[in-house]
């Protein structure tokens, strides 16, 4: 391996690492707020990529009817959840959130989808379709388990992952898709050339990190999420409901997942089940960060990306093995130096 190849691999690793960083940040967010290890995060990535690909092909993506169905199910779950405090205002709010919003998004998708929308419009529609799914999945699958242990929530997350993968196969079929890059530009940088697409990926990742920082640091809603992560009972006593906190954090995760899908779709062919592997690598990074630290998770994600690209060059058959093996020394190190891991809060 000479220096040029190493540079190339590093560049590749950082670009992939940016995607893993986005995934890892979502996982940390969702885990600290809801104690759910969000295995289905990868499905948001795949849904984002495949939804955009369907728009590019001039069709209405299968995620649109899925969004309507999830919204209706979430509406039922939310009504049951709030049954002791139902008044007109609350019913209206639930209906707006779970029925009217997905209805409006679906109407737009049906109106604009067949006419092959521009790339920017397709991306906007994709994000609008996938983001609310996070909140709906929380209402359907996780809100009723609010008092359950981390392990039970994990099993539920695996269940949601399997269900979404199956639905992905139904709606998108077994064929993979790719989308055009956000930018065709190629910028020379010494012996290398940097593609516009990778600049977009790194730039948007940094933008998301800044946006998350501003959300937690500057807005009351962001602080409410952080408060829920710090002290669940204290947050409830301030009127910060776990349902609201869960829906919000799941929506942010779904948004980031869909955006990651949009970013990664031009680089690699995405199948209905590709998300899982991407999500798992983000998970490795999140674990290295202890599922608690955002900066550590983001840094670890870049490291995972670099390990992956170097491994792919040196021993491509063992690429995934090497990436996932990297977690073992980290776990040993963490368990050796950390206080006993707090399983429950």
């Amino acid at each position: 391996m000479d220096a040029t190849i190493l540079m190339l691999l590093l560049q590749d690793g950082v670009v992939n690492g940016a995607i893993y960083a986005l995934i890892a940040l979502s996982l940390v967010l969702v885990f600290t707020v809801t104690r759910v290890i969000l295995i289905p995060q990868g499905e948001f990535v795949a849904f984002g990529a495949l939804t955009l690909a369907a728009f590019e092909a001039g069709t209405v993506p299968g995620t649109v009817p899925l969004l309507l169905a999830l919204g209706a199910a979430a509406c039922a779950a939310d009504l049951v959840e709030a049954r002791h405090a139902l008044d007109a205002r609350r019913i209206l709010r639930i209906a707006l959130r779970d029925l009217v919003l997905p209805g409006a998004v679906a109407a737009l998708a049906y109106a604009l989808g067949p006419g092959k929308p521009t790339l920017a419009l397709g991306i906007a529609l994709t994000l609008a379709i996938v983001t609310p799914m996070g909140a709906y999945l929380h209402s359907i699958a996780f809100r009723p388990l609010e008092k359950a242990s981390v392990l039970v929530l994990l099993v539920a997350a695996v269940g949601v992952h399997l269900a979404l993968t199956g639905l992905g196969l139904v709606f998108f079929g077994a064929e993979g898709s790719r989308t055009p890059p956000l930018s065709d530009a190629m910028l020379p940088a010494g012996p290398l050339s940097v593609s516009g697409q990778s600049l977009w990926m790194i730039g948007l990742t940094l933008a998301i990190i800044v946006a998350l920082w501003a959300f937690f640091g500057l807005t009351l809603l962001g602080k409410a999420l952080m408060a829920t992560a710090v002290n669940r009972l204290g947050a409830r006593l301030m009127g910060i409901g776990p349902g609201m906190a869960g829906r919000l954090s799941f929506s942010v995760a779904a948004f980031i997942g869909a955006l990651s899908g949009v970013l990664v779709a031009p680089l690699t062919t995405i199948y209905y089940d590709t998300g899982f592997l991407i999500g798992l690598k983000g998970f490795v990074a999140a674990i290295i960060g202890g599922l608690a630290s955002y900066p550590a998770a983001a840094a670890a994600a870049v490291l995972v990306g670099i390990i992956e690209s170097v491994a792919a060059f040196e021993a491509s058959a063992f690429k995934e093995v090497i990436v996932f093996m990297a977690i073992i020394p980290v776990l040993l190190w963490r368990s050796a130096r950390a206080d006993p891991v707090e399983d429950e809060e």
Binding site: K223, N231, L233, G239, I240
Partner: protein, 248 residues
């Protein structure tokens, strides 16, 4: 007088063990009501049940509305607030952020919630510490922050669980003064205390719990003179308030 808050026949069970048995109590606006009792009498369990932290049987009415089946955050929205024994502050967040989150239920209409300035006027120490993390505060400052955070939510009924626990006598006096001042603002207070002497000085009315049930109730003055109360609670506490106790 109209009853702002009323609990009837409240029972809380941990499995088969009933920690609170058929307790009924009422709090009127602008009044301080205390619940006394020894360790393990069921006082904390009762408060947690009234707030919805623990499931309970029985009726809980607030301002004519039945709260018994509502979750904690709905009770907060109705105007109830609980300062638990462990305070439950946001330890890794700043004092100021803790306070701002106290007014979370007024998000979008912050002028209706409490103001930081008012809290800093009430507890000047918090103003000095406003950028500090809540977890770095002393015990007395934590209790002040817990009270200020609760007041930011403009509760109509404030429930305090052992606010004097682990505090130096001077700080206990300050906490009790603040509780008494709430009366003037029309806030109803339900005060659970082991420090019966301090609690009866500030309260208008009191209930005495033993073994999960209310065994005695009456105006504070009557309770202070009651032979059983003096022997069981005031007597014990007289020995208990020796200097070694204060932690501050």
């Amino acid at each position: 007088m109209s009853r702002l808050f009323e609990a009837q026949d409240v029972t809380v069970a941990y499995g088969k063990i009933e920690a609170v048995r058929g307790v009924s109590l009422a709090v009127e606006p602008g009044r301080v009501v205390t619940v006394l009792g020894a360790n393990g009498a069921g006082k904390t369990t009762l408060l947690n049940a009234l707030m919805g932290v623990l499931p309970a049987r029985g009726a809980i009415r607030f301002d004519g509305r039945d709260l018994a089946r509502l979750p904690v955050e709905e009770r907060v929205a109705a105007g109830l607030s609980l300062i638990p024994e462990r305070r439950e502050l946001f330890a890794t967040m700043s004092v100021e952020d803790n306070l701002r989150l106290g007014a979370f239920r007024f998000r979008g209409r912050p002028q209706e919630g409490g103001s930081l300035e008012a809290m800093f006027a009430l507890f000047p120490r918090l103003k000095e510490r406003r950028r500090q993390l809540a977890g770095t505060l002393s015990g007395g400052e934590r209790q002040m922050l817990a009270m200020a955070r609760a007041l930011m939510g403009r509760p109509r009924l404030l429930m305090l669980d052992e606010p004097s626990l682990g505090l130096a006598p001077l700080i206990v006096a300050e906490v009790m003064r603040t509780v008494a001042d709430l009366r003037g603002q029309g806030v109803a207070v339900l005060l659970v205390e082991q420090n019966a002497r301090a609690a009866l000085q500030v309260a208008d009315y009191g209930y005495v719990m033993d073994g999960g049930s209310v065994v005695l109730e009456g105006e504070s003055r009557a309770l202070q003179a009651d032979k059983r109360v003096v022997e069981t609670y005031l007597g014990v506490l007289a020995a208990d308030t020796e200097p070694a106790r204060g932690v501050g």
